[in-house]
Symmetry: C2
Subunit: 385 residues, 2 copies
């Protein structure tokens, strides 16, 4: 069936809408990605979202109204992606909408209980598209004692699990994160942890030393040499070789960390610094594999996604550190773009709920059980009996 | 099947939970009310709700957390009503939860769009009771252009519609409201409007002149005489005989109105005043029927609900004004308590959604279409295929 997955991230650049065609569910899922768009937010909506995110500027009337406004925009995003794909909206079967997170409280704090809050009214989406909507995927995982995140491991499981190959799914966004998918894995065999920095340090060095936002294709890093002292300085950060489960945020490897590093190694050439921090990202990933994954799990392939998968120098470094027995490939090479990954994930999670299947991964979220995610909103005039 | 209906009103006295047994749906619905409780709010929750209701004191973190806390309390209410009825919760089939309204914006205002906002997380209710939940009934009606209220007319339709009798459902709460159900009515034949004051004036006169909250059973009003001048003074209020559709709020017949009335008629005895304002309530109801309903619709019965149905003097006055050809009966006499009315209504609306039936009444809410109300949340581990 045809499903649109909708995602609106914390970057507030707009609504990601992926139109997919899916057959079956669970491990039998057969997925074809038909179209993907990012539908931008009008400026006034962006500013209302920003106002809603903060305790100081949010209020009940604003949130009440914005929930309905966003529902309308999500519906527009669905219509737009169908139009671009020349799919008459009457042929669309289902919408999976993550919504816009305006608050996420993973742990209790003072008198606040663990909870999460996504908006973009499903009734409005269902009404304006005349299509069934599944939304609010994170709440049931939290009701079951989980942190409501991450939810992508299940879709990684159904897309990448193999009976013949052990696989690692390495995402390289700001932070690096790996999901382990042993050969013939069941859901309970999966684990996931943050390997350390992804593009954060590379990008910050680009900004500080070159006045650019990132090292496109890894071209600059290709020109320099790795400095052993700087590399071991970086690798000695206590996070890198600490044992999983572990997760890191932007605070450990942010701007402050880079400013301090540049001060300590200011005699090196700019290119050598960039080459070395690129190698640090590669080495922090691979040494985590060698220490914590390879001793217990046979791995045949590493599949790399996220912005870092476009940095060829970084990929070559990872491949050379791993040796030739393990193949490094990108999501893009498998036909799955990194951009559309999350929107596609929510189309697939909607498909699972539609089929009555649980789709959180308790080992990833900490939930007590596997549970069916999301609320179902019928199209306004469906008659099901 | 067994259904619990949950309602938490603006009075904040707690969660109303009604356990009902229902067979079939729509006009074939067969309803038995098994148990009803009001499960009180802890003081801290009541104060968090009050904080959430106002633009000045609400914020996103508070609402995010309170949504989950209320979900847990609603689940506790479900368990409690099942326990009181000796129904093992495993035998419960469905929960219909209205939730706690924290904001309702029926019309656009500045940059706020028409919208409504109920909390009490359905995923938490479904998880903690292991039962399917249908919630958020008002949003789809608003998506279809309605005001999201009132939603009770549909359940009045399925409970009281008759092939052989024309009926009026008169609710006497603070305000009086009538729903017209012609003999053999279809949904589009229904209308509803506010007749004028219900108990508001009677209760305020009790407070001002007798220092009591209400005239229990109508005992005091039974002792006095109707004063013709005061009665015509009251009946001359422009709202009373204005043509429907019309609706009134607490502001027209509130404390100020009563203070002015008492000043103008201070020579009358306390009992005569109370008897006369009781007659005013009766006469405002009956004259609206005689002017706006009886000329076009044959009516056989008036069914009275709300607190006013316990005021025997008021009921006798209504009966005597109507004459003997129209029978006045109370909801209670038909086996439906006024207290449980709304909780039962949301059990029945859940039943309709479960069966894929639309259940708003466009003539009552202003929606462009009849639509299926609510979101469905599966119990966490159901397998439906």
């Amino acid at each position: 069936m045809y499903i649109v997955g909708l995602m609106s991230g914390t970057s507030l650049d707009g609504i990601d809408a992926a139109l997919v065609r899916v057959h079956n569910s669970g491990l039998d899922t057969d997925l074809e990605i038909i179209e993907f768009i990012t539908y931008p937010f009008p400026k006034d909506i962006e500013s209302e979202i920003i106002q809603s995110l903060s305790v100081e500027t949010s209020n009940v009337q604003l949130i009440c109204s914005l929930n309905f406004k966003l529902g309308k925009l999500f519906a527009d995003g669905v219509k737009e992606v169908c139009k671009k794909a020349n799919l008459p909206i009457e042929e669309l079967n289902l919408i999976g909408s993550h919504g816009q997170t305006i608050y996420h409280q993973p742990l209790a704090e003072n008198h606040f209980v663990p909870s999460t809050f996504q908006i973009g009214e499903a009734a409005v989406i269902a009404h304006d598209t005349d299509t069934m909507v599944i939304s609010n995927f994170r709440t049931m995982d939290m009701a079951a004692g989980g942190q409501g995140a991450p939810l992508v491991p299940y879709t990684e499981y159904i897309l990448y699990r193999s009976e013949t190959k052990g696989r690692l799914l390495q995402n390289i966004g700001g932070i690096g994160n790996v999901t382990v998918l042993p050969k013939g894995a069941s859901l309970s065999d999966m684990e996931a942890f943050d390997t350390g920095p992804g593009n954060m340090i590379i990008d910050e060095v680009c900004r500080q030393l070159f006045g650019i936002n990132y090292d496109k294709g890894g071209k600059i890093a290709k020109q320099g040499k790795v400095n052993a002292d700087l590399l071991s300085y970086c690798m000695n950060h206590p996070y890198i070789m600490s044992a999983p489960p572990k997760s890191t945020g932007r605070e450990l490897f942010g701007k402050q960390y880079v400013v301090k590093l540049l001060e300590a190694f200011k005699t090196l050439s700019k290119e050598d610094i960039l080459t070395t921090v690129t190698m640090f990202t590669a080495k922090s990933i691979v040494e985590n594999y060698q220490t914590y994954i390879f001793p217990k799990t046979d791995i045949d392939e590493v599949i790399i996604g996220g912005g870092g998968s476009y940095n060829h120098t970084l990929l070559e470094m990872i491949q050379s550190l791993l040796g030739n027995s393990i193949k490094v490939i990108t999501q893009e090479e498998l036909g799955y773009s990194s951009e559309s990954k999350e929107a596609v994930a929510f189309a697939l999670l909607a498909n699972e709920t539609y089929h009555g299947n649980a789709s959180n991964v308790p080992a990833a979220t900490g939930a007590g059980n596997a549970v069916i995610l999301g609320n179902i909103t019928y199209p306004p005039r469906a008659r099901l009996n």
